[in-house]
Symmetry: C2
Subunit: 196 residues, 2 copies
C-alpha cells in the first residue's frame, strides 16, 4: 500500500522516535533531538503529534501493533514446547537487531513511565497481558499441569516465561551480550520439560 507524503513523514517520525526512546528513554529524549534525528521541521512534527506525550503514546501504540503481529506469527511448530521456544527465539532476534544495547521498548518504558503517566502504563499493561495470554493459550494446547511440581497454572507459567525473557533482556543490556538471554531461553525449556 502506497503511503502519502504525510503518512511517510508520520511513519518516519514514529520509527526514529521509537529508536531514540528505546535507547535513551522517553523523558531523556527531547523534541529537539527528535527534530535533529528525523530532519523533520518543528511545525511539521507538531502537525502530526501535538505534544511529546501524544508522540510517546503513538510510538507505543505503533510498536504494540507491530509486536503483536510478530508475536502472533511467532509460534511455529507442531508441538507446544517447540512452538513456545520458537517464539522466544523470535523475540531474541528482535533484541539482537539492536545489538543488545537498546533492549525492550516496553520493558524500558514500563520501568520509566508506569508511575509517571497512566496512559503509558495502560498500554504497557495491555502489551504484557496480551503477551502472557498468547503464551497461556499455547500452554493450554498440550499441558498436563499435574506434571509440574510445585504446581504452576498455565497463567503462572506464562508469567514466568515473560519474566525470564524480560529479565534476560535486562541482563543482555547490562553485559551488552546475548549470552544471558540464551541462558534464560534454556531455562524456559527447563520449565517446560515436565510438560513435553
Amino acid at each position: 500500500m502506497l503511503q502519502t507524503k504525510g503518512q511517510e513523514t508520520r511513519s518516519h517520525i514514529l520509527l526514529e522516535s521509537r529508536r531514540l526512546f528505546t535507547l535513551q528513554g522517553f523523558q531523556n529524549t527531547s523534541i529537539s533531538t527528535i527534530i535533529a534525528a528525523t530532519g523533520v521541521k518543528k511545525g511539521n512534527l507538531y502537525y502530526h503529534f501535538p505534544s511529546k506525550e501524544e508522540l510517546g503514546l503513538a510510538v507505543l501504540l505503533d510498536a504494540r501493533d507491530e509486536f503483536f503481529t510478530i508475536l502472533e506469527h511467532s509460534f511455529v511448530g507442531d508441538r507446544m514446547v517447540p512452538r513456545i521456544l520458537h517464539s522466544c527465539n523470535a523475540i531474541k532476534g528482535l533484541i539482537q537487531q539492536g545489538d543488545f544495547v537498546a533492549g525492550c521498548l516496553f520493558g524500558n518504558t514500563a520501568l520509566e513511565m508506569t508511575d509517571a503517566n497512566s496512559r503509558f502504563g495502560q498500554i504497557i499493561r495491555e502489551v504484557f497481558s496480551h503477551w502472557i495470554e498468547l503464551i497461556e493459550q499455547e500452554l493450554q494446547l498440550e499441558a498436563d499441569l499435574t506434571a509440574v511440581d510445585p504446581p504452576l497454572s498455565t497463567e503462572s507459567l506464562a508469567i514466568a516465561i515473560v519474566a525470564l525473557l524480560e529479565g534476560g533482556i535486562m541482563l543482555a543490556r547490562v553485559y551488552q551480550d546475548g549470552k544471558n538471554l540464551e541462558v534464560c531461553i534454556t531455562a524456559i525449556h527447563g520449565l517446560l520439560i515436565p510438560l513435553s
Copy 2:
C-alpha cells in the same frame, strides 16, 4: 557508631536521592528536586557531592554495599533449595517495602544508564555479577546437575534465577502488585526441583 553532623547529612542525601532515583530515574531527577526533598542547602549538597554524576555514583555504591550485606545474610536454612528460596523472598520483601511501585534501583538504572554512563554501567555489572555468583555458590553446595534436562550449569541456573526475579519485579511494577513476583519465585522453585 555515632555519625558526625556532616556524615548524617551525607547519609540523608544518599537515602533520599536513592528513593527518588529508584522512583523516577536518575536523569529525570533534578538537583533542585533533591534539594527540595532533603531540605539541604545547595552549597552543602555540592560540598558532599561535587556533581550530579558523583551523587549518582555514591548512591549506587551505597545501595550496592547495603544490598550485598542483605544478600549475604539472606541464604537461611539447612538445604540448598530452601536457602535460595529464602533469599528470593528476602528480595521480595525489599521490593514490597516500596509497595511494588519503585522497583529495583539496579534494574531501573541498568535500563536507563548502562549505555549512557560507563561508570554507572560498571557498578551495575558488579552488582549483578556478585548476585549471580552468590547464588551459584549456593547451587554448588548440593546440585546434582545431571538431573536437569536440558542441562543448565550452576552459572546458567543462577543467571535464570536473577532474571526471573528482575523480570518479576518489572511485572510487579507494571501491575503494581506483587502477585507476579510470587509466581516467579514459584517458578524458581520449579527450576530447582530436579536438584532437591
